[in-house]
């Protein structure tokens, strides 16, 4: 992507020079909030992968469903948005557990590819169900003036949600890291992700650990989805797909199974995407390709991801 002709290269530096501090700050805030959203969703992927060694394709569609839940709560049932927010988290967590129970648990001893297919099936089913139940027409995420208003800081115009998103992300991350590192459940989770068999033999209740993982991952996805909806208000059955792919990539480039890595990966992708578009407006059509190119480059140089540790399969 950096291969540009001589003339355009000049343009690029010119563009940076011309870019005032305020618009740079603007892009940074946009990138940082997008990165925070990616990070929140990526955590769900990385946790499930860390424990079950599977790509939870349905995670993206859990995000999508959460947006619809919010829509129904606020727009259809007129529940205050903060109550809806809590409700959405609960409903989404339940959905995550239901998917795990029905689509993944029966296949726990099955070959890996079967589980992958089941995950794809679950994802596809959620998309088609949403399409069928809520129609394919885009719905508009309910407007929450408090969050969607513009705030002026100096010359920079910022949507309030852009400030809320990183705060929520870091709060959630702090809570999550506390759970993982300082509670018994967290210890069990780490044990299962380190060695599934040994953890089971040592009496860890695997089913409970996995359910907890799905609850946490889905709850974070719900938080992310709610803020996503405020920031990018169009809801469609396929809204989760692209962000989902990118967030999985974020988890991979950060080092799959590593929560901090997922967050790092999320920020790299979020900031990278926004700045690419800011600096090379002519490439904006290729914005969605950015994540995949980063993926290929990083995997090539560091196959375990940035914060990943090398694991050796026992032979």
């Amino acid at each position: 992507m950096l291969i540009v002709y001589g003339g355009e290269e000049m343009e690029f530096f010119q563009a940076i020079l011309n870019m005032s501090a305020s618009s740079l700050a603007q892009h940074f805030v946009n990138g940082f909030s997008l990165g925070s959203l990616y990070a929140l969703i990526a955590i769900g992927y990385t946790m499930v992968y860390g424990i079950l060694l599977m790509i939870n394709f349905a995670h993206a569609d859990i995000v999508m469903m959460a947006c619809y839940f919010a829509f129904f709560g606020i727009t259809v049932f007129h529940i205050p948005w903060y109550l809806t927010f809590v409700g959405v988290i609960i409903a989404t967590a339940i959905l995550g557990v239901v998917i795990e129970r029905t689509a993944y648990r029966p296949l726990r001893e099955a070959p890996k590819n079967s589980v992958l297919i089941s995950a794809i099936g679950a994802s596809f089913l959620l998309e088609n169900l949403a399409n069928y139940l809520f129609s394919g027409r885009p719905l508009s995420f309910p407007d929450i003036p408090l969050l969607s208003q513009n705030i002026a800081i100096g010359e920079v115009q910022i949507q309030a949600i852009c400030l809320v998103i990183p705060v929520m992300t870091f709060l959630s991350l702090a809570v999550l890291l506390h759970i993982v590192n300082h509670t018994k459940t967290g210890m069990a989770m780490r044990a299962v992700s380190k060695d599934y068999e040994i953890a089971r033999v040592m009496g860890v209740n695997i089913d409970r650990v996995i359910s907890t993982t799905f609850i946490i991952g889905s709850a974070l996805a719900a938080i992310g989805a709610f803020m996503w909806g405020v920031r990018y208000p169009g809801i469609t059955p396929y809204l989760g797909v692209m962000p989902g792919l990118k967030c999985f990539i974020a988890a991979v480039i950060g080092g799959i199974g590593n929560i901090k890595g997922a967050v790092l990966g999320g920020f790299i992708l979020g900031l990278g995407e926004i700045f690419i578009v800011a600096f090379f407006p002519q490439l904006s059509g290729y914005r969605d390709a950015f994540a995949f190119i980063v993926l290929i480059i990083i995997l090539f140089y560091k196959p375990t991801g940035l914060l990943g540790v090398k694991t050796t399969e026992k032979v």
């Binding site: 992958l116 297919i117 794809i120 069928y132 792919l245 999985f248 196959p303 032979v315």
Partner: protein, 354 residues
């Protein structure tokens, strides 16, 4: 194919089927022919997907992307030169390719080869890594292909798509393409390379210790698979007569996933059966998308989108409850067929006993 008799029978079978294809071409309506053609094309792509996913055990989800490559090459190079200004009305076609026109078979071949080349470029970094990254990389690739196609206006006409592709609703031509694919994949699987693929699927570490180069063989399977997906995509383009990026959403890949899961991962004849069932089934399920009235009462479930819900439930049900699919990793053989013809009851009771 163990002996002369089986080869003869297979050839005879193909000749009979070709006869049937000719009959279909002359005697059947264009709608039915279209469905038959779609079955055949889906069979090509199902086979190609089974090669990587079923035989070599590498989980690739790039079929829609490789199809798009093949379809666009056919689209770009078979539209008659004089019609092109009409098609590329928003932005004229890139002068590099504006005057190149190819016959269908050549364009198809170029499309297949380009697909294989792209497969190599993706496989080169990704196939060395943990298996399931391939799923994401290929899924991502098939989206990138769409992004590139949408943006490369002067090459692909972008989101407007390419129309006026010489339409081919010829069962014979597509049958021959399918038969060639079928024979190629069968012969490949029955060769030493096919065994090497299966070895990788069964146990990568053991395969490598027995001298099977993992990267080389995975790459080989992946490229051959992409080649045939490209060929299938080219045929798909001629069947539709138009292509546009929306034809190749990654959800298209899920059709082939259902085909190979239903038919049996690692069974060639299973993929053939699967493609017939899935294609015909998807057509048949269209009734679910129409409002239905029974005895003057509207059945509330029937409205657009219901078909795809059923489709996805089928995919889930298949992998949850019927993981081996119709054929498992077994194949149709003439021997079994004869045993069945001689005494169907005994055939099944014996099978049950095993």
């Amino acid at each position: 194919m163990k002996n002369k008799r089986d080869i003869l029978l297979t050839v005879a079978g193909l000749v009979v089927l070709f006869g049937a294809a000719c009959y279909a071409q002359f005697e059947m309506g264009s709608y039915v022919r279209r469905i038959i053609n779609l079955c055949l094309i889906y069979a090509i792509i199902g086979l190609s997907m089974n090669l990587t996913n079923g035989f070599a055990g590498q989980f690739s989800l790039g079929q829609a992307g490789f199809m798009a490559v093949g379809a666009y090459v056919v689209g770009i190079f078979t539209v008659p030169v004089e019609l092109r200004p009409n098609v590329f009305y928003a932005e004229p076609m890139n002068p590099l390719i504006a005057d190149i026109q190819m016959p269908l078979w050549l364009a198809q071949l170029v499309g297949g080869l380009l697909s294989a080349l792209i497969a190599f470029l993706i496989g080169w970094p990704v196939l060395r890594l943990r298996g399931d990254y391939l799923a994401i990389a290929t899924l991502g690739f098939s989206e990138i292909i769409r992004i590139v196609i949408t943006n490369a206006q002067s090459w692909t006409n972008g989101a407007l798509g390419i129309k006026d592709i010489p339409a081919l609703n010829d069962v014979r031509y597509i049958f021959i393409a399918t038969a060639i694919t079928f024979l190629f994949v069968t012969c490949l699987i029955n060769s030493s390379y096919g065994r090497a693929f299966k070895a990788i699927r069964e146990d990568e570490i053991a395969a490598e210790a027995m001298g099977v180069g993992l990267f080389k063989h995975k790459c080989m399977a992946f490229m051959i698979s992409a080649f045939f997906a490209g060929i299938g995509g080219g045929l798909y383009a001629t069947l539709l007569g138009t292509v546009d990026p929306k034809n190749f959403l990654f959800t298209l890949t899920y059709n082939f996933l259902l085909i190979i899961v239903l038919g049996g991962m690692g069974s060639i004849t299973g993929s053939m059966l699967g493609s017939i069932i899935v294609t015909a089934g998807l057509e048949y399920l269209r009734v679910f998308d129409e409002p239905l009235e029974l005895f003057g009462m509207a059945i509330p479930l029937f409205r657009p989108g219901f078909r795809m819900v059923i489709f996805s439930v089928l995919l889930m049900a298949c992998v949850l409850f019927w993981r081996k699919g119709i054929m498992g990793t077994n194949e149709f053989t003439w021997e079994k067929f004869m045993a069945f013809c001689k005494n169907p009851v005994k055939y099944f009771t014996q099978k049950g006993a095993n």
